[in-house]
């Protein structure tokens, strides 16, 4: 029950949102977010101090990451602003290989002296740890990239939008919810800009400007007499976009089951808050589900988390090898299964790709945090496990000679390691809409939005809930359901995948604060899919009388 490492935003509904305080830099005012930061020529000079110092200390490889991390978070409830947080964090992280062993150190003193000292510290750590090292680090080659840059293609920089405009938008959403019957509403806007400069002894100097945004809320309706309360979460997704995500363009709206409004690359928070209030009230009297086997029709803003937990994490190579055994766990997707070339992870129509280049996604960057150009690769093809997620010092284990480019550190003062790229389910190849899918289901449940989720440490057994549930009978939606959770086994579940809607329904779900490692680091990742059907899945009733 230690809360000191987290800032708890209570009242965000089921599973209060816990924000790691490690993300917070120093508080600054909003205008300071627009300050340019260190000049790129100076960054290159400081990076070269690190690289040259490392080489003089016997390093066979070194990289330096100079990072400026800017965050702006806005929190409101009902008609009140709870907090506006602007933070900045700036410094350099230096990683070296000496005696075949990694060493890492960081400092916020980005002067020649400060950088030199930190590099010496990194080299000393490498030397000390090399005494315990059993296998020398071997890096897959990366071509020199020279001087290059990459930017998230944003239309509106959140840093240029006045705080008052953001506050007004959230308060508008709150009042839309309250005017439509909600008792409480908490809303928040998370905006992140990573300004990262990477240099390595491979001859790469990479300047990147990365933007992410997440608008979200929890709308609660209360039935005082019945002593009940229900919360409907936002149908937004965190995105690798600028403030334009909040434009609420009609062209990016989609319709799910029962006329449910859903959003692709543009989000209408006020409209969603109004609908959320109506649905939260409807949840108070919805029918409690009869447990049993159902065909599930899973909407992308729900299915994304299922993909994340049951495909994303088990195919991280460091987990498979045991490096995460003491924390997140290991994986059922072992090397022998991959080597067999016929391990049926899912049915024939299941094609899952890793992609660090997908537009609008949280994981999209030009280069990863060890200077590898980003790419797209297959994880599951025609239902068979064909690859993992691996970085420069891991791909040799897979007899591969090219890093997948999915190395990431949450900040300049954390060491980079393998993190999940965007992992997405390819859309169905034949024309097939959500409405057609529902028409084909005899006994089923349509699930939209994220809910409770839990999975074992090797990623076999999971139980997932959702935000809204609709019962399907003989091809028709017959009403809302409560108390729904499905329990399955990863391999059985993906082999029960029977139909996938076409690309017109494809969109991204995202996880803004995905945790891994000790000490824990967060990263942001998207998962794309179209609405997908899974046959005969076990549904339990989670209602209890206490």
């Amino acid at each position: 029950m230690k809360r000191r490492d987290f800032m708890q935003m209570s009242g965000m509904g089921a599973g209060a949102l816990l924000l790691p305080t490690s993300l917070m830099g120093s508080n600054i005012d909003a205008e300071a977010l627009l300050a340019p930061g260190m000049d790129i020529i100076e960054k290159k000079r400081m990076a070269n101090v690190a690289l040259n110092t490392a080489k003089s200390l016997g390093a066979t490889y070194a990289d330096a990451r100079i990072g400026r991390y800017l965050n702006q978070y806005v929190f409101t409830r009902e008609d009140k602003v709870q907090n506006v947080v602007n933070t900045e964090s700036f410094g350099i992280g230096i990683r070296v290989i000496v005696n075949g062993t990694w060493g890492f150190a960081s400092t916020n003193d980005v002067s020649a002296d400060g950088v030199k000292k930190a590099t010496e510290q990194a080299a000393n750590i490498a030397k000390a740890n090399s005494k315990f090292q059993k296998e020398r680090v071997v890096l897959a080659p990366v071509a020199s990239q020279g001087d290059v840059s990459w930017k998230t293609p944003i239309k509106k920089d959140f840093k240029s939008i006045p705080v008052s405009e953001k506050v007004e938008l959230l308060l508008d959403a709150n009042s839309a919810a309250l005017n439509n019957g909600a008792n409480y509403v908490n809303s928040a806007l998370f905006m992140v800009n990573e300004q990262k400069y990477f240099a390595s002894t491979d001859g790469s100097y990479i300047d990147q400007d990365v933007h992410r945004i997440w608008p979200t809320f929890g709308v609660t309706a209360i039935d005082q007499a019945g002593g009940k309360f229900k919360t409907r979460q936002a149908m937004s997704a965190p995105m690798g976009m600028g403030y334009e995500y909040l434009d609420g363009l009609e062209s990016e709206k989609l319709v799910g089951a029962n006329g449910l409004k859903l959003y692709r690359n543009s989000y209408d928070i006020v409209e969603d808050a109004k609908i959320a209030a109506e649905q939260a009230k409807e949840m108070l009297t919805a029918k409690s589900v009869d447990p049993g086997k159902y065909d599930l029709v899973l909407e992308p803003n729900h299915l994304g988390l299922t993909i994340h937990e049951s495909v994303g994490h088990p195919t991280e190579l460091d987990r498979v090898l045991g490096y995460e055994a003491n924390y997140a766990g290991t994986s059922f997707a072992t090397i022998d299964k991959w080597k067999s070339k016929n391990f049926k992870y899912g049915s024939d129509i299941v094609n899952i790709v890793a992609d660090k280049t997908q537009a609008g996604s949280l994981g999209a960057v030009g280069y990863d945090d060890e200077g590898v150009p980003c790419k797209k690769w297959d994880i599951i093809r025609n239902g068979v496990l064909v690859n993992y997620q691996a970085i420069r010092d891991q791909v040799k284990i897979l007899d591969q000679n090219e890093s997948h480019g999915c190395c990431y550190a949450q900040s300049w003062n954390d060491v980079q390691f393998q993190r999940m790229p965007n992992i997405s389910l390819e859309a169905g190849k034949e024309k097939y809409s959500v409405q057609e899918m529902i028409k084909d289901v005899e006994k089923g449940i349509y699930i939209a939005g994220r809910g409770s989720y839990s999975i074992d440490q090797q990623r076999y057994n999971f139980q997932f809930g959702g935000t809204v549930f609709y019962e399907i009978k003989n091809g028709e939606i017959v009403g809302m359901l409560n108390d729904v959770a499905y329990q399955s086994n990863t391999q059985e579940f993906w082999n029960a995948c029977s139909k996938i809607c076409d690309k017109d329904d494809y969109r991204l779900f995202g996880s803004f604060f995905d945790g891994k490692g000790q000490p824990s680091q967060i990263s942001a990742v998207s998962h794309g899919s179209s609405t997908t059907r899974f046959n005969g899945i076990n549904v339990i009733n989670t209602g209890r009388t206490v």
Binding site: K2, D29, N183, Q224, G227, A325, V415, D456, N461, P519
Partner: protein
Amino acid sequence: MAIYTEEQARKIMEKALSFSKADACEINLSGSESGNIRYARNTVSTSGHRSNHSMVVQSNFGKKMGTATIDEFDDESLKRVVARSEELAKLSPENPEFMGPLGPQKYDEAITFVEATADISPDFRAEVANNSIEPAVAKDVTAAGFLDDASSFSAMINSKGLFAYNKETGLKFTVTMRTNDGTGSGWVSRDFNDVRKFDAVEASKVAIDKAIMSKQAKAIEPGKYTVILEPSAGLGLLNGLGYDLDARKADEGRSFMSKDGGTKQGDKIVDERVNIWSDPLHPEVPTATWNGSGQPLKKTSWIENGVVKNLAYDRFWASKKGVEPVPYASNFIMAGGDASLDDLIKSTKKGILVTRLWYIRSVDPQTLLYTGLTRDGTFYIENGVIKYPVKNFRFNESPIIMLNNLETLGKQVRVDGNLIPYMKIRDFTFTSLSDAV
């Protein structure tokens, strides 16, 4: 060195306060020195050291409040941070819930700092890893562990005359031991303020023994079972109850603690043998004697003989409800009994011993229903003895139901800064099986 003495901290903070021009000003100063070592696959994977300190200045004009942070403490920097907090306060919207700083307070002397823990060296950490890895290798087991230690201080001053200071030390150790055939896994966790209470060899042996004992687990039918929850497992579910000991959420009607437009304070909600309190001066689980708002922390009863004795009220909600504020708990202590784990096993006709619960998530906040899985050592007990290891289960259970189905309380153990007993519980609900080891 980021650990300032009380006098050093006071001097810097008084200086900063002297620059304040706001209606009121409150300053928090904190710093820590921490180190860690991580190992996996029987070898050290990473190690690190971190030193940081920072000052947070909060200024207010009426109910307009601004906060600024800095990590340099020369006069110019102090002047700048105070001025920036004042500029931000002037720009910010009014916060109707802003309560303003507290006046001077009296605090108990804390017992949280132990010099020996502050003196932990990189060599000590390497030795811990070695003391964990070597016995694992000898038993054909693979170790993955993490040791994290820190010494820290925090201090607070405000323009109404309040001053508080505390320094503390702590360490946390966990290790997962997996048998090399992949069929057994054991785990242990230890945390202390005082490193002299920590024995890496003893702790690692517990995890190694569990790993070997849990090899080749059998599948048994899920359902309702009598369980013996080790303290780590019990805490996993008690956390859910702890988060709901909040008066505002209860009054607002969106908590298990809500009732008829009010709260369940005064209601009996669990077995009468359940007593839960917090105590910053408990020698086994000490904490600071004041919180971030400057409120003194005292021994506070939360559940007494099964009845909800207190809910936490922050200063705003207390003033709105016309009651005295009740600060949130800084630790949880649950009364135990005399029974050892062996005693609990011996008195069990048929049951399951659970080492820990994992990936615990809220399913329904209305009933405090949680789901999750057993992990790293789950065993079937018959006629007073452990018969064989069993495959892991998924559970769907509420801490309220669990504490109503209490059979026996065992001895207390420190877990994550809390003191939790072994608990024997009847009719604990396991809903499915997992193949995970």
